[in-house]
């Protein structure tokens, strides 16, 4: 008999002793969880399973809060909380475990503080760190079930691959505007992973997140709660409802629609029959062509000489009353919340069709200006608008087209702090 054999043997014995110790519920636990213990589908056995289980929640935001609150309340033994972001005021309408007093502090810690007040028996593990290819597998392998509660494509591929190589089921949710989606990836050999469904990443610039598209707070509330429900069903040995299926929730129409999705692809790069992705994972930002976090998301479409900073615009144009047109290319709903008084709102989607160019041409001729500047929220859409205009509005000469770096967000930070940031 080899040493390895005896180590393995004693580990099995050790685990069974630990399970024996944990397999009983205390008097307090029986009272505390009595209303769910009474369900024949759960019973004492199910509650012990919950107590012995560990769940990793990646993302402590709109989906993470409702999911974590239900899992903590239900008596999961260990909950891991991953997020490197800080709490912002604009999070609170949907991320209800954070508080006004914790704006500016770590999201993962903030959730833990709230959950501790709800159920202090749970072992909370905070990962206030960037989830990346070097730490993902090490963290994920410590947990039984993984919850994807993140908000961007590269992180979703990362969590998927790390869950697949670690052999963990992945309960994935998403929410935007009035809609939500939910499915369980890599539940068994028949069900697909995220890569089976989306082998090619989305083209950069085609993905909308909550901070651009908006989201009604209760939508991720519903999807995150359903994620917790699926986790509980997986742990207690009940069949999950959304493995191989996807829930499409439309809050505006009030519809829950379940669709059948494809099976596991034998050609999948990570869960296929001869996978090319292993424990080393891959570079997800390069794969998707987009960064994992928002603050780095600035496009470089225009050359530096085609752009103005907010202070250059303020000092050399506005303060000197230089005749010009300022075109605010944000969607109308954003401009209606707040825009600069002298700006004209023509949303990017209108600029890029024929009417938009005609409209702009008329304005230029009407105002007799030879300078046109574009502004948006953060300085990406304004570059697209400027480039499009330069290429398509060719029948007027000698007009200077530029965009304003950093958009209204930079204006609020650098020029006028009374400008609301949203």
């Amino acid at each position: 008999m080899s040493i390895d054999y005896w180590i393995e043997k004693s580990l099995i014995l050790y685990r069974s002793i630990i399970f024996e110790i944990m397999s009983d519920l205390t008097k307090e636990e029986i009272s505390r969880y009595s209303r769910q213990l009474l369900l024949p589908e759960i019973g004492k056995e199910g509650q012990v399973k919950l107590k012995s289980a560990s769940v990793l929640i990646v993302g402590c935001g709109g989906l993470g809060c409702p999911c974590a609150v239900h899992l903590a309340a239900s008596g999961i033994g260990k909950i891991g909380l991953v997020d490197h972001d800080k709490v912002e005021l604009s999070n609170l309408h949907r991320q209800f475990l954070h508080t006004e007093s914790r704006v500016g502090t770590s999201k993962a810690n903030s959730i833990k503080e709230s959950l501790n007040q709800l159920n202090s028996d749970v072992d909370y593990v905070v990962y206030d760190t960037k989830f990346n290819k070097t730490n993902a597998v090490d963290i994920i392998k410590e947990y039984d079930v993984i919850v994807d509660a993140t908000d961007n494509a590269p992180t979703r591929y990362l969590i998927n691959d790390a869950s697949v190589v670690s052999g963990k089921p992945l309960v994935s949710g998403a929410a935007l505007r009035f809609e939500g989606q939910l499915t369980i990836y890599h539940y068994n050999k028949e069900t697909p992973c995220y890569r089976c469904l989306f082998p090619k990443p989305p083209v950069p610039g085609t993905v909308t997140n909550c901070s651009d598209g908006g989201v009604l707070g209760v939508i991720p509330g519903i999807i995150g709660s359903l994620q917790a429900l699926e986790v509980i069903k997986i742990i207690t040995g009940l069949e999950p409802s959304y493995a191989g299926k996807m829930l499409l929730f439309d809050g505006l129409a009030g519809s829950f629609r379940t669709v059948t999705i494809r099976g596991r692809s034998k050609d999948c790069a990570v869960c296929g029959d001869s996978p090319s992705i292993g424990h080393q994972l891959v570079d997800y930002e390069a794969f998707c062509g987009t960064p994992m976090c928002e603050e780095n998301k600035s496009l470089k479409i225009l050359a530096p000489e085609e752009r103005l900073t907010c202070s250059e615009y303020k000092e050399s144009v506005v303060d000197k009353d230089v005749p010009h047109l300022l075109i605010d290319v944000r969607p109308a709903v954003q401009a209606s919340v707040f825009k600069l008084n002298h700006a004209y709102n023509i949303p990017l989607s209108k600029i890029t069709n024929n009417d938009g160019m005609n409209n702009l041409k008329e304005m230029i001729e009407d105002k007799k200006v030879n300078k046109v500047y574009f502004i948006c929220r953060r300085g990406n859409a304004s570059q697209k608008a400027c480039r499009f205009t330069k290429e398509n509005l060719t029948d007027i000469d000698n007009i200077e087209f530029k965009d304003i770096i950093g958009g209204m967000t930079s204006w609020a930070k650098e020029i006028d702090t009374e400008t609301p940031i949203f």
Binding site: G61, D148, N152, G173, A175, F198, L248
Partner: protein, 108 residues
């Protein structure tokens, strides 16, 4: 003898923004007997994608198609079943089919 193929097309997950915010369209597609070749005898999903792009799409075609097929990140469901199971681009539409174009969401 000409006929029509009647189907319902739906747009969700943000796809509706490319179609003037219309989430549901009833389409009556011409089915030619084949004599003058003005319309396909049968409609595949690929034909439908082209038709939507040419006749109904209102803005940013790059958010709908990419390299002659649907943009990565968009799921097509025919009668609530993933089009991949049905043969993707080559699936032949039948009268009464409900075709849903839904963009996968990333927000959270």
């Amino acid at each position: 003898m000409s006929n029509h193929l009647n189907i319902i097309v739906e747009f969700k997950g943000g796809m509706e923004l490319l179609f003037d915010n219309v989430t549901k369209k009833e389409l009556s597609l011409p089915v030619n007997s084949g004599e003058d070749g003005s319309a396909p005898v049968e409609w595949t999903i690929k034909d439908l994608i082209n038709h939507l792009k040419e006749k109904h799409l209102k803005e940013r075609p790059e958010l709908f198609v990419n390299d002659d097929s649907i943009r990565p990140g968009v799921l097509i469901l025919v009668n609530d079943v993933d089009w991949e199971i049905l043969g993707e681009n080559e699936y032949k539409l039948a009268d009464g089919d409900k075709v849903l174009f839904i963009s996968t969401l990333h927000g959270g």
